[in-house]
Amino acid sequence: MIDTSMYKDDPGYNIQELLDKPYDPELADREYNPDKPMAGRLTDQGPPHFEQFFPEVIKKNYGKWLTHEFLQSGVIKYTSETGDVMWVVRCATPRLVTTNLLREIADIADKFCEGCCRWTTRNSLEWHVTDEGTLKELIEFLNNLKHPGGSYKFPIGGTGAGITNIVHTQGWIHCHTPATDASGMVKSVMDDMFEYWNSHKLPAKLRISMACCLNMCGAVHCSDIALLGIHRKPPFVEDDRITGVCEVPLAIAACPTAAIKPATVELADGKKVKSVRVKNERCMFCGNCYTMCPAMPLADEEGDGVAILAGGKISNRITRPSFSKLIVPYIPNELPRFDSVCKIVRQIVEAYEKGANKYERLGDWATRVGWERFFEQCNLPFTDKSIDDYRLAYDTYHTTTQFKWSSHTDKMM
């Protein structure tokens, strides 16, 4: 049991009674007055206390779990020192969900799990049950739930030595700087990798992450495989609109590499306006200028696409955490199903599956066999773009005479 008494005066300590009251759609319209925003206002409530959402078995066994076992991909059995047993079923979700789907989740929670459920850091959904009969029914129920187009609503898997759900960002669904789409790419890659989602046949865990521009809201930089949207063209400058819609000094200040300089330019009609010029060779294509200035759009059909990085990890297990490394610098956006991205991910995963030792993460395998061998075994070309020329580049130079002969050196002989 957790001691929560010190928090009992917090607004979110127990919101269950409040939740039992039906939602009142008119309350805010009745009580909130835009001219007096502070009247009746509640602020700094913070999040609800987590314990009230736990299933009973977790409240009782908090901190007392002894061990766990994966019965199959996506099904985990937990044993407590109190003798209690709990099963957890993990399912994928696409992260982008509607209230229609959330209501269905609430119904399943009521039907099988005392009304409770949990989301994981990687956007999967987890169900908790305490008897084997319910577990069987739940699994069967989930296996039969499909969308009209035939995809599973809640496919079971994502544990152990397989590929778990992809963490990703907004893409064209909701952001102004993406170089590619997130949801569609994740769907395409996971469809193709589905056999690894619901099995334990890889040498270790394999994490794929996706971010749709350099800002990397999805922090993909430490993933076994990272899919990253990249722009390759500097922004436009709309001279005839810029003074109308944005403040030039703000656009200049937004640029992290100081690539934007003020300039007075002459429009077609001879009028002189204060605008800006971009030093193209300094631009790192981050889109910050477009954030501050709608007259500097960045997106470009031909310039934009996807980079693939690999060999990073977060866990401290055996070897230290490490960054993903740039493997494929650019793949055009192929819509709707990102065929080349899927194909390259498969090449990497299959080479890893074949070559790595048990317990060896993708990056540890590549380090052991050597990156020259990695490129060879994944059947991917090595390009100049994988040689670092950004800050701290020297960290990746090869300061030893120890290297392997590979197809790359064979060609030179």
């Binding site: 609109r241 109308g244 819609v245 944005c246 000094p249 703000l250 910050n288």
Partner: protein, 84 residues
């Protein structure tokens, strides 16, 4: 020695208004210059109180929050809605 909050607030508004004529959005760090004797935390608290009073306003750059003086700079409507 702590700075008087009301005095600090006046200094911030004066400083921000002057600056706004050139650049209407500023970072919290810029506001430190309104009173070099004030501690960062004091400036932050004063600036946020000014926002509650409606004398300053927030602006989002996507990843950073900036301060502005209401009435200066491009309005949300000018930038993104009607435009032209």
């Amino acid at each position: 020695m702590a700075v008087d909050k009301e005095e600090l607030k006046e200094k911030i508004v004066e400083f921000a208004t002057k600056k706004s004529k050139f650049k209407s959005k500023m970072y919290i760090k810029d506001l430190y210059k309104a009173d070099p004797d004030a501690k960062p935390r004091e400036v932050k608290n004063a600036a946020n109180e000014l926002v509650r009073e409606g004398r300053l306003e927030f602006f989002s750059s996507g990843s950073t929050t900036m301060y502005g003086v209401p009435g200066f700079g491009k309005s949300e409507a000018q930038q993104f809605e009607g435009e032209e």
